[in-house]
Structures are given as C-alpha cells and as structure tokens.
C-alpha cells in the first residue's frame, strides 16, 4: 500500500554504466538535495534546472562525487510529487554510496515500481499507460516501443470498449426480457442475444490470438542456429551481425559454448543463439557442447537449420533432422552460388526454405524477411496500428471473460435468463478490469510489483 513518505532508488540499470541516477520522490526531496549536494554556483536548487556541483557526506564533510542534480517541484514531475535526481558517475560503488547518503536522511528505499505506482495513484497516468511505461522502459526494439506507444494511445482500450459494447447490448436484451414480462416484447429473442455475445466472443478470441504476437513484439524472439560444422553457421551469423550493428549483449563463452547476440530484423528484436557444430565426435568437451545445442532446440521460438547445399545430405544432417522434430524451423541452404548437390528428404516439414550465400550476402534480406513473417502475421507492418495483447494480466482477464462467455453459451439451452445475465456481468467485469475500471487493490499490487525499480 502506498504511503505518502519520501522514497529513493537507483533508477539506472545495475552494473557499471556511464552515469548512475538516484531518484528521490516525496516531500523531503528538496531537503535531501540541500543537505548532500553543493552546487558550484551558489543559489541552491532551482526547480527544473540542472546544476553542477559535488555530492558530499554532511557528517564528515567529505566529497563523494562530482554530479549534476535536478529538482522538480510537484506537480510537474514524474510522480507528481517533489522529485530530486542526482546524476553521478556510474561506478556501482559510487552509486551505492550516494544512495546510502540519501537513505541516511530518513528516506525509505522505494519498492519495485513504486515511482510509477505513485504517478498512477496521483492521477498522472492511467493503468494501461502505467503498464505501457513499463514496456517502453523494457523495450528492446522499435516494434516493442511502437506497440507500447500504441497501447498508451488507447488502441487496445478502444477495442476493449467495443467488446464491452457488445456485451452490454446482450445484457440489456436479457434484462429487458426479465424486467418487462407484461410489455409485449414478444418471445425472448435468444438469437439476437447470442449474436451480440458472439461478436464479443469473436473480438475476445481474436485479441487472445494476438497474445503470442504481442509477446513477440514486446519481448522479441529467440532464433537458434544449428548446422554441421562447415555448413556456414558462423559466416551466416557474421553476415547477420555485420548488417545489424545493434549488438546489445554479447556473452562470450568458449568456442564450444553457445554464443548469444541480440539484433533487430525489420523492427523485431531477435536473440540469435549460435551453437556448436553438430557432428559425431569423441571429444568429450565437444560432445557436451553439441548436446547443449540440441537441448536448446525445443526452447527456441525458431530454428535456422543451416545446410551446405553444395554437398549431399549427410549423417550429420540427419542428426539435425531428428533433433528438429516438432520445432518451427526454416531450412537455410547455404552456398547457393556453388553447384547444388543437396536433396533434402522432407522439405515440407520446414516452415520455409531459403537459399543464401553467406559469404556474398546473397539471400540474407530474404531470410530476415522470412523470419519476421513467421511471427508478424498482421497485414500492416506498422505495429503502431496493431491492436495486440502483450501483457499476461490482460490475457488473464480476457481468458476469464471467455470462460464467463463459455458458461453463457452452455447456459443458452436452459434459457435461464437470470443466470445468463450473471455470466454476462461476470464477463463485463473481467473485460473492464483490463482498462482499469474494475480492478482491485490486489491486482494493482501485482502490477506494480512487476515494475523494475527506479521506473
């Protein structure tokens, strides 16, 4: 529960970065600023102005770091409360030390998501916006950002309102037959009621069907590259990376381990996992690497199976084939510029087959496009116009609505209007909880505890 005291937290990601930001929100923000920050130009902190100076320990008088500080007076701040931000050098030790200084002034460490929770509670943003902010922060790609922004602009809310409209219409009909038995309304028009419910059901299940895509837009996909040692995995990887310098993480490992790179294809965030070459070997370390690679296959959203098209189908290729059972896979036939000897035994089991020449770059664009097509089914490539579900809470609410509607459909035979009304109301309430109309404190607590600290 939100209490109106002053809170603080580090709002940059953990680890050593260029700068570290400590954010303070609440009535005591200015007091803290004045107590531990000394601006170069005397005159104290002016609201919404950056000032340069030093952070010092008021008990010892010792200087802790050079820093920039900005004070934002309520209500013109992120939380609508008084906010102080201290931008210091990013070394983790320094950041920790500054935070400790702030906390020593009687200020509480913020709970996860508490800043945004306050912004929400103080009426600055609504529930969907609050969630979108979280997505914007977590955005790993253009598409995720666009999705978050479109949700912030209310595209999803609008669709939810449509669902509500149909349900309300059905409910109104049911209620009319209940409350006006003597008014000559004619026999209960179950068909009209269920037609309206079916419209709502259609929208709900269409929305639910977008959840997978929404999740992908938000979180991106993982693509595993497998192939025998000389099929051209590494050159494919290099080719993909060269053209996309947006390397976010690079977890180095031994050559036998899995290499992970994150890049974007047409706005979609793609985590590429390169694995050890698959082959028969007696080398224990290499065996370990291979079995890890094979173990990863079922976990990936998509597998790129790289084959050397200039050679005949081999035992190693068969091993890969076996491991791919049931996985979404694109067959990548490398070395398309050489003589083609490969005949894939069962080409239909792949989602697609793409011919490339990794060294020259031939077919790479087509491959990227093909990858995206596997996930972005919507007709428009601009995710700003998409209405998709991307949050588990929304999905859960709609699943619950769907259950109520299912119960409604099952009850149609009995034609017990008062029970049908109950199901419709249940569905309405569930649907309403997406836009924040009928949400409870418990739900809010859950939402805000999933916010990452500092934002």
């Amino acid at each position: 529960m939100y209490v109106r005291d002053t809170i603080a937290a580090v709002s940059t990601p953990p680890g050593n970065g260029g700068i570290g930001i400590i954010r303070v929100s609440g009535d005591m923000a200015a007091m803290v600023g004045n107590a531990i920050f000394k601006p170069v130009y005397d005159g104290g902190l002016v609201s919404h102005r950056f000032s340069f100076g030093t952070i010092f320990d008021p008990t010892s008088g010792e200087s802790v770091d050079e820093a920039m500080a900005v004070y934002m007076r309520s209500p013109r701040s992120y939380t609508r409360e008084d906010v102080l931000e201290l931008h210091c050098h990013g070394g983790w030790l320094v950041v920790e030390r500054v935070l400790a200084l702030v906390l020593s002034r009687g200020i509480r460490l913020a709970d996860p998501g508490e800043f945004t929770r306050r912004a929400f509670l103080n009426g600055r943003i609504d529930l969907i916006q609050a969630e979108a902010v979280m997505d914007i922060i977590a955005s790993k790609s253009e598409s995720a950002l666009q999705l978050a922004q479109s949700q912030r602009e209310g595209a999803l809310s609008k669709r939810i309102d449509d669902v509500r409209g149909y349900l309300l219409r059905a409910l109104a009909l049911v209620e009319a037959y209940i409350d006006f038995p003597d008014d000559d309304l004619g026999a209960t028009d179950i068909a009209a009621i269920s037609a309206s419910v079916e419209e709502a059901q259609g929208l709900v299940s269409a929305l639910l069907a977008t959840f997978e895509e929404g999740r992908i837009l938000r979180d991106g996909i993982s693509v595993l590259i497998v192939g025998k040692p000389n099929a051209g995995k590494s050159s494919l990887l290099n080719r993909l990376l060269n053209e996309n310098r947006a390397i976010v993480t690079h977890i180095p490992g031994t050559t036998r381990d899995i290499i992970e790179e994150t890049i974007t294809f047409e706005g979609l965030s793609v985590r590429l996992l390169d694995t050890a070459g698959i082959r028969h070997t007696d080398d224990l370390v290499e065996q370990e690497g291979i079995s890890r690679a094979l173990g990863k296959i079922p976990l990936a959203d998509l597998v790129l199976a790289v084959f050397d098209a200039s050679r005949e189908f081999s035992k190693e290729d068969q091993m890969i084939f076996d491991a791919l059972d049931g996985c979404r896979t694109i067959a990548v036939l490398n070395k398309a510029d050489l003589d083609q000897r490969l005949i894939l035994p069962d080409e239909d089991r792949f989602e697609a087959t793409v011919r490339i020449a990794a060294l020259s770059g031939y077919g790479i664009d087509l491959l990227k496009h093909t990858v995206c097509q596997q996930f972005l089914h919507s007709t428009t490539a601009d995710s700003r116009e998409l209405v998709v579900l991307s949050r588990a809470r929304h999905r859960d609410a709609l699943v619950s609505a769907e259950q109520h509607l299912q119960r409604f459909t099952n009850g149609l035979l009995d034609r017990n209007l008062e029970l049908l009304a109950l199901d419709l109301r249940g569905a309405l309430q569930a649907v309403g909880s997406v836009t924040g109309q009928t949400t409870t404190d418990d739900v809010l607590d859950l939402i805000f505890s999933s916010f990452c600290i500092g934002k």
Binding site: M1, Y2, V3, R4, D27, M28, A30, M31, N34, P75, R80, D82, F120, L121, N122, G123, D126, L127, E175, I178, D179, F180, P181, D182, D183, D184, D414, N416, L417, E418, L419, A421, L422, R425, G436, Q437, T438, T439, T440, D441, L444
Partner: protein, 632 residues
C-alpha cells in the same frame, strides 16, 4: 402562528404511500408521531394505476412486509386479482402483482392509521419547516398553526408546485382533484437544496359500461391467488379479470394529428418524464414502425364502473383523447370519466441525502418517496418505511438503519438515489441489483425479518412463525444432504418412470435435487419424509440447493466488496486537500459527498485509481494536513 402545546417525536408530512409507512413505523417503534396531510379522504390514494407489485416492485413489497411494514397486508386485504409474473423464469425474477380496489385500499390504510397507538392523524397543508436558532423544530401550516417535533419526514409526492397539463391547458394541482403544495419547495430551495422539476402522466379513466369486452382478450389472475404478506393466510376478496386491447395504425394517426397541441412536444413541459413509462404519444413518436401498442384494461374496484387503460397515458387535448381511445377495437363507444393528464412537480435531488434518508443539509429532516425523484407506490413505501424507522432511531439516540445492496432492493434503491441522484423519475428494476440471485421475493423474510423484529416492527407471534420456518429449512437441508437413496423397489420404480435410471444407489437427495431434471416433488415420491414438507420449506430447500453454485459466487463477490462498502469517508473530508485526485473526480466527490468508499466507487467517472487514493487518504488522515505541510 399559534404553537400547538405538544412536542412530537416525529412529524410526517403527507399521507401518501411513503408517509403512511413512515408514520406507522415511527409510532410502532414507540415514538409520538403525527401524520399531516392535505386531504384526509385521499390517504394512500393510488394516483395512477390501481395495482401493486410487478417486477422488482413486488420484491420491494415483500421486503416492506418482512421488515414489518403495512403495504403487503393492505393489498392482500383489498386486492381483486393476484398474479405471479415470470413463473417460467428463475426464482429470483419471479414477482407478485395485484390489482387493487382503489377505494378499499385507501380506506383500509386510513383505518389502520386511525387505530395505531401513538399516532395522530391531522388534515392540513404544511407551508414551511420551522427552525429555532438554526435547528429544525417542527412545521407550520397554511391554517396558521405550528406543530413542534424533534424530527420531520417530508413525503409530499407529486404535490410541490404541482402543475397539471391537459393539452395546452394547465392549472395547479397535486394530482387530479387535489390542491398542490405551495411554499414548501421554495423554502427548501432557500435552505440550499437543489430542487428540480420532473414530469409524469396518467391515462384517462374509462366507463366500463361503454366498452365491448367481448372484443377483448380476457386475462384472469392466478388461482388460488397468492398473498404478498407473510401474515396473510389466504386472499378472501372476490377476484376480477383484466382485459387486453391494442391500438392500431389509425390510433397512431390520431395521436400524430394532435402533437402540435401536446404540451410535451410544444415545449411547455420542462420537467423530465420517465423513459420506462412513456406516454402513448412518446411511444408513437419514438417507435414509428410499431403498428400496435398493448393495453391492459384494469378494473379500479369491485363497486365501480371506472377502468384504467394501462400504458395509455397522455397529455394530449381532450378531443384527441376521445378520438384516440375510441379508435381502439372494443372501445368504439367509450366514455371518458376522468381525462388523462400529465403533471409536473418539484423534487429534491436525493444526492443531498445520507443513506439513512436524512438530508445532509438539515439535521433531523428526512425525505422519502416521490419527493426524491422516484416514481411508484412501492418505491415510495420502501423509502417511507426506512425514513420513519430512522427518524424514530434518531429520537431514541440510536444508529440509523442502512440496508446494504446485498441485503435488499430497498438498500439498492436508496444507495442508487443518494449516490447517483435522479435526473429522471427513478423506478426499481431487478437489473439494478448486482446480487439479484440473492434478493428474491421468496427469501425476503430470511433476509429481513430479524431486522424488523429487532426494531420492534415485527410482533412476537409473527417472529415465532419465522424462527420456526428457519429451523425447518435448515433441518430439511441437513436431512437431504445425509439421506441416501437405498434403491428400494419403490425408488427404482419412481426413478425409472422419471427417466432417472442412471442415478446410483447411495446418491444423496441433495445431489439428486441439484439435477436440472429433478425437483422437490420428485423427492417427495422417493421418500416418505419429503412428502410431509410444507410448501414454503420445499421452495426454499429447492432453490437453495439448485442454485447453490451461483448463490455462492454472489456471496463471494459480496465478501470481496465488503472492504469498500464498510469503509466510511469522514464527513469533514475536504476533497480539495486530496491533491492527487483529478479535478474532475474532486468535483464529483465534493458534489455527491458519498458516505462510504463503496458509494464513491459507484459514482460514474470515479476511477479505481481515485478510490485507491481516497482509501489511502482516509487511512493516513493525510487529508487533514497535506495542504499546509512544510516542504522546506
């Protein structure tokens, strides 16, 4: 002004359906009570339709009865046709309705009032409330007398600045044949109340001798007629049928030809009318494609030739009225005995009331009935009962009775009124109740009898009957949960003949009763004890067993909302000091001043976020000092 030398505990202004219940409740609770009304010959008069009950309204009447009110007993004693509506639908939406002998209804209520201990009945028009040093102390009458009291319940119905319209003619009146009440609403306005204007209408009363009933469909009541009141053993009044007639395209042409002289369509009437009870011209204009509208021709009593054509209210001029009614098949020769008319009247927005029905602006003043913007006898009576009870409780220095939305339709109605206010006449519907499955006619006593008894409105013998019923229900529920089928020859025969051959040996009767193809009468064939169960107990056991799943779901919802419903918002809360609320929400809350968070959450535009903020503000009491906190 001459001051009368007695100080009453409770003065009730107006002896309509609200006023009668209020006065009876207060006097039965031992308070010195006076009931003042403009015309003692028009007590509990049915201004409009000669009937009581219907969907949600029947529920209200049964609740009034369970709490110890009079309406149910009065209609049982004077009803001339009884019907249960929606018998083919579920138990929660079944409702009782009865035609009344209008004059007998009024006369019996007058007799009950006259015989009531602690109650004085007087004729007179109240022109103002009387205050001493800012406190309400009584009322003043047109005749120049002042009556003193500790509390006042105002139930003036359609009378305050009543204006009757027939075509383009209009004249002051509280209803046809009665004087309006002038002065009182002006004073209320001066006192700071928001006083608005509403409108309603009534059809003509027709001469039955001029109607050819052979051309109409006949509709009889139920046989035997089922009474409303728990205290009525059986209906003894003679029973009469109603008749059904229809308008036709020609009728509609006549209506259209008179619209230019309709006070409604020519803009003379400013008050807002009820959308759910439109006049015939409204129906014709709004639904031009409908080529007929139905009317029930209802008798106004046993000894009168006057009949009431329901749904045919109008404010069109008299020549159009005559032509229109005569265009209906069977009514070709009809004579109008009293013309149809519309009436505009002042009401006081109930948003200015607490859930006790006491006004927020004036302490010890209560409003009930049509003055609160409701319409209907049952709605009025329900409020009157609560206002009378709460005035009496105030006199006794006790906490007010507030019925919850999960407890009674009366609770739903009052909560709606005081939370949302009224902008058009408010009528009860079952759809207004979110816990509809729990608020049934059949369990009104289980919900409310205890409360009525606690207040002293339910007599010892009545209460004894109730506790006995309760005991029998729980025993029977227990018994069917533990009695198992033994598959005796007799049981196997019955099961087979019912197509229940699949029922296993050892199945409990409860389990069996849960099946949609089994009802209690089947149980009665399967085991001898069930045969002996009285009808009222059977009904409860059957409903409670069959609907258990749904009932439990609703109970769970009630539990979830309890926290909000029971969190009180301090009276002195200054919403402007709760900075985190948006301006819009702040304005709404300042205007409505809800008593609880639950109420606040039902005000449109008050978001869940706002409720969270409010609940925090209340808990931390930070609203007291946020405005002048030091920021350094």
């Amino acid at each position: 002004m001459i001051s009368y030398d007695q100080i009453y505990d409770v003065i009730v202004v107006g002896a309509g359906h609200a006023g009668c219940e209020a006065a009876l409740a207060a006097s039965r609770m031992g308070c010195r009570t006076m009931l003042l009304t403009i015309n003692l010959d028009a007590i509990a008069l049915m201004s409009c339709n000669p009937s009581i009950g219907g969907l949600a309204k029947g529920h209200l009447v049964k609740e009034i009865d369970a709490l110890g009110g009079e309406m149910a007993k009065n209609i049982d004693a004077t009803g001339i046709q009884f019907r249960i509506l929606n018998t083919k639908k579920g138990p929660a939406v079944r409702a009782s309705r009865a035609q009344a002998d209008k004059q007998l209804y009024r006369l019996r209520m007058k007799r009950v009032l006259e015989q009531q201990k602690n109650l004085d009945l007087k004729q007179g028009e109240v022109t103002s409330l009387y205050f001493e040093s800012g406190e309400l102390r009584g009322v003043e009458l047109q005749s120049g007398i002042r009556f003193l009291s500790k509390t006042v319940v105002v139930t003036t119905g359609t009378f305050m600045r009543g204006l009757i319209h027939i075509g383009l003619n209009h004249y002051p009146g509280g209803r046809a044949g009665d004087q309006p009440s002038i002065g009182l609403s002006d004073q209320l306005r001066v006192l700071g109340f928001h006083v608005g204007r509403l409108k309603t209408g009534t059809p003509a009363r027709l001469d039955a001798r001029s109607i050819d009933f052979t051309k109409l469909e006949t509709q009889f009541g139920d046989d035997p007629p089922m009474p409303f009141s728990l205290s009525t053993e059986r209906i003894t009044m003679p029973q009469l049928p109603c008749h059904i007639a229809y308008t036709n395209p020609h009728s509609h042409d006549i209506i259209r030809s008179g619209l230019d002289r309709s006070p409604l369509y020519s803009g003379i009437i400013e008050g807002v009318g009820p959308r759910y009870c439109p006049s015939i011209e409204d129906k014709v204009v709004r639904f031009p494609d409908k080529d007929r509208h139905q009317t029930f021709i209802e008798p106004e009593g046993l000894d009168t030739i006057e009949v009431y054509p329901s749904g045919m209210s109008t404010s069109l001029p008299i020549d159009i009225q005559i032509a229109f009614y005569r265009s209906i098949v069977g009514l070709e020769q009809v004579e109008i005995m009293r013309p149809a008319y519309a009436i505009e009247y002042d009401y006081v927005d109930p948003i200015q009331l607490h859930t006790s029905l006491e006004t927020k602006g004036v302490k010890n003043l209560y409003h009930a009935g049509q003055i609160n913007g409701t319409s209907g006898y049952e709605e009025a009576a329900g409020q009157g009962l609560v206002a009378g009870i709460n005035a009496a409780l105030r006199v006794k220095g006790q906490e007010p009775l507030v019925l919850g939305r999960s407890q009674a339709y009366i609770g739903v109605m009052i909560d709606d009124l005081v939370t949302l206010g009224t902008k058009e006449p408010y009528r009860m519907f079952t759809s207004r109740a979110e816990y509809r499955l729990l608020l049934r006619e059949d369990n009104a006593d289980l919900r409310l009898r205890e409360i009525g008894y606690g207040l002293g409105l339910v007599t010892e013998p009545e209460y004894a009957i109730f506790t006995e019923k309760q005991r029998m229900i729980s025993e029977e529920l227990e018994r069917i949960a533990t009695t198992r089928l033994v598959h005796s020859e007799m049981q196997l025969d019955v099961l087979a003949s019912r197509g229940l051959g699949d029922v296993q040996k050892g199945t409990t009767l409860e389990h069996l009763l849960k099946r949609s193809d089994v009802n209690y009468s089947d149980l009665a064939e399967l085991d001898t004890v069930s045969r002996e169960t009285p009808a009222a107990i059977r009904e409860q056991v059957e409903i409670q067993t069959k609907y258990k799943g749904y009932i439990d779901r609703q109970l769970e919802q009630i539990e979830q909302s309890k926290k909000l419903e029971t969190t009180r918002i301090p009276l002195e809360l200054n919403y402007d000091s709760v900075k985190s609320l948006t301006t819009e929400v702040r304005e709404k809350l300042s205007k409505n001043r809800p008593d609880t968070l639950g109420q606040a959450s039902r005000i449109p535009g008050v978001t869940p976020a706002a409720i969270s903020i409010l609940s925090i503000a209340i808990k931390s009491s930070s609203w007291k000092d946020t405005s002048d906190r030091c920021t350094q």
